[in-house]
């Protein structure tokens, strides 16, 4: 059976920090793009990451268009689309229900996760499409499946799109769980308050052909905690397993990882467990940071957005520092305060989700 290598050949993103160029500038300047909102919940402030209102669906098209223009393809007729989204069209359903107090005017097809792929398919006519919805690992799992399909030779081109819009359900839902922060989130900080919900769109073109600017998607793997629906296993078993398997899938030793782009939501539970996982598995203490301090947590889009960040870190050969960190809770892990220029060959990007779903993806510079 084929065992093709898999290359990331084009990508673009939109987050509260702007496009990919603006995002990386913000990351290296340690300038969070989170704003403090008072409109979603009466009497409660929330740190959120948003674009301008009503920009989400038009931006899906424009971000994807930019990837097409960057690529060597004239269209997506020979490309599989894999979407990762947690929210789909819930935002529109909410607005209709709040206005009408009934479901009558809700189009089920615009409520579902598939609204993302349907929107893109109307403009771009993909060869085929499928959509993954595993909460915060959605687009990381989409990358994992894309890698497996290309590696086997089932497809030559796969466009992975991670996309989630802000909506009342997620903002108020995370508040109900007691994990939302009233300020800009502070991943790995001692006494941190919680996460910032954010919207994001990220599209990456994966192909079996190598180009001069390619970043290789070397390996990936998933696991399940089987511990609790929302609390991660405090012993980090699931997180360690998926990182270890992803590194093995990449044909690497753990000591070869040069940078960890953490899931790092800023919640008490996640960051403690993730720091423990990295401390336990990556004994050479590579630099780690969570760029959610800049972008917030883009839920289903996080895997794809942070994959783009991982690719950029390799291209720019500069570590992404940890923004908004004063005193780390875990003094053993390496959370750099400076955007250090150094040789970066391999990066691992983590995503952890409700249901104890864990996914890790490893990216590498061309050999």
């Amino acid at each position: 059976m084929s065992k093709n290598r898999v290359f990331v050949n084009a990508y673009e993103s939109l987050s509260c920090a702007g496009d990919t160029v603006a995002l990386m500038e913000a990351i290296y300047a340690k300038k969070s793009a989170i704003t403090i909102d008072t409109t979603y919940m009466q009497d409660h402030k929330a740190g959120l990451g948003s674009f301008a209102p009503n920009e989400f669906f038009p931006s899906l098209i424009s971000v994807t268009q930019k990837v097409l223009e960057q690529s060597d393809l004239k269209d997506f007729s020979e490309t599989l689309l894999i979407v990762g989204s947690s929210v789909g069209g819930i935002g529109k359903s909410e607005q209709i229900f709040f206005r009408d107090k009934s479901y009558k005017n809700i189009n089920p097809k615009e409520h579902a996760i598939s609204v993302i792929s349907d929107t893109l398919d109307k403009t771009f006519a993909f060869k085929d499409s499928r959509s993954i919805s595993t909460a915060c690992t959605s687009s990381a799992n989409a990358l994992m499946l894309a890698q497996r399909l290309i590696r086997l030779g089932a497809y030559k081109n796969v466009l992975v799109v991670g996309a989630d819009a802000l909506c009342y359900t997620t903002v108020c839902g995370f508040q109900a769980l007691g994990v939302l922060s009233t300020q800009k989130c502070t991943p790995f900080q001692e006494g941190r308050e919680g996460m910032n919900v954010a919207e994001g769109i990220a599209a990456l073109l994966l192909q079996d052909t190598q180009e001069t600017q390619s970043i290789e998607l070397c390996g990936s793997a998933g696991s399940s905690d089987a511990f609790h629906m929302t609390n991660p296993d405090p012993e980090a078993g699931g997180a360690i397993a998926c990182m270890q398997k992803a590194i093995e899938d990449a044909g690497l030793e753990t000591s070869q990882i040069d940078y960890v782009n953490a899931h790092g939501t800023g919640t008490q539970a996640n960051d403690a467990v993730e720091a423990l996982a990295v401390e336990t598995l990556l004994k050479h203490n590579p630099p780690m940071s969570s760029t959610k301090a800049i972008t917030g947590h883009t839920l289903g889009a996080a895997g794809a957005l942070e994959a783009i960040i991982a690719c950029e870190v390799i291209k720019q050969q500069r570590i992404a520092p940890q923004t908004s960190l004063d005193v780390p809770e875990n003094a053993q892990v390496n959370l750099p305060s400076v955007a250090e220029a150094k040789e970066i060959k391999y990066v691992i990007s983590n995503s952890f989700a409700f249901g104890g779903n864990n996914t890790a993806v490893v990216f590498g510079a061309l050999k």
Partner: protein, 214 residues
């Protein structure tokens, strides 16, 4: 790219209103876990039990996910009442397979597809990919649980408000011996049809081998 798979077990369940024979107390003996299971989660663990599958990789699919939890949350926001954290944790599309994972302490890769009417077709493709990747059996389950108050405001064609289909497959080098034909399955949400096609072709047929697209 097509590959061949032996179909080991199949199962289907449906009800116009509520599936009454999900045998929850036997399948989920711990009450503290059982109390939280959504309708979709109960259907999922029932189908997994019918397929005798508890360990190994799973691909789950649902076009509409956890409608009751979503309706509860949006209703509470609209009424300016507190939102139940249980409802929020139960509102993600991967809720049902996550409870399956908790029940069986299954630590394998567990994926969820939600592609509208194409959901079960994509579950078959993704299940096939996972089976080939792991060279092991995979459980595929697709379900819809849309029996919520006022669903008739948006539902015109689905008779079975609760339904689910499951099959387990393992990769094989043997030639396919069963052809799967596309049919309409009246009363079932279209999101289940592709897997119902496979079940129709294979149930009560020992050693059925089918070709699946990756």
């Amino acid at each position: 790219m097509k590959m061949n798979f032996k179909v080991i077990k199949t199962a289907v369940v449906s009800a116009e209103s509520k599936c009454e024979t999900l045998d929850e107390k036997r399948i989920v003996p711990k009450m503290m876990l059982r109390r939280r299971l959504t309708r979709a989660a109960r259907i999922m663990v029932y189908l997994a039990d019918a397929c005798e599958f508890s360990e190994g990789s799973v691909v789950y699919g649902s076009a509409y996910g956890e409608m009751q939890a979503t309706a509860d949350i949006v209703g509470a926001i609209d009424a300016q009442e507190p939102i139940s954290p249980t409802a929020f944790q139960n509102s993600v599309y991967n809720t049902a397979p996550s409870y399956f994972s908790l029940l069986h302490k299954n630590k394998s890769e567990i994926l969820t597809i939600s592609s509208g009417d194409e959901t079960s077709r994509n579950v078959l493709q993704t299940g096939a990919l996972q089976a080939v990747t792991n060279n092991a059996a995979v459980l595929m389950v697709c379900s819809e649980a849309i029996n919520i108050a006022n669903i008739e405001e948006v539902n015109e064609c689905t008779k079975y408000l609760e339904s689910g289909v499951a099959l387990t497959v393992v990769p094989t080098d043997e030639e396919a011996n069963t052809t799967v034909t596309l049919q309409e399955h009246e009363g079932y949400a279209p999101s289940l049809w592709a897997m119902l096609d496979v079940v129709a072709a294979c149930e009560e047929k020992e050693g059925a081998i089918i070709a699946l697209q990756l």
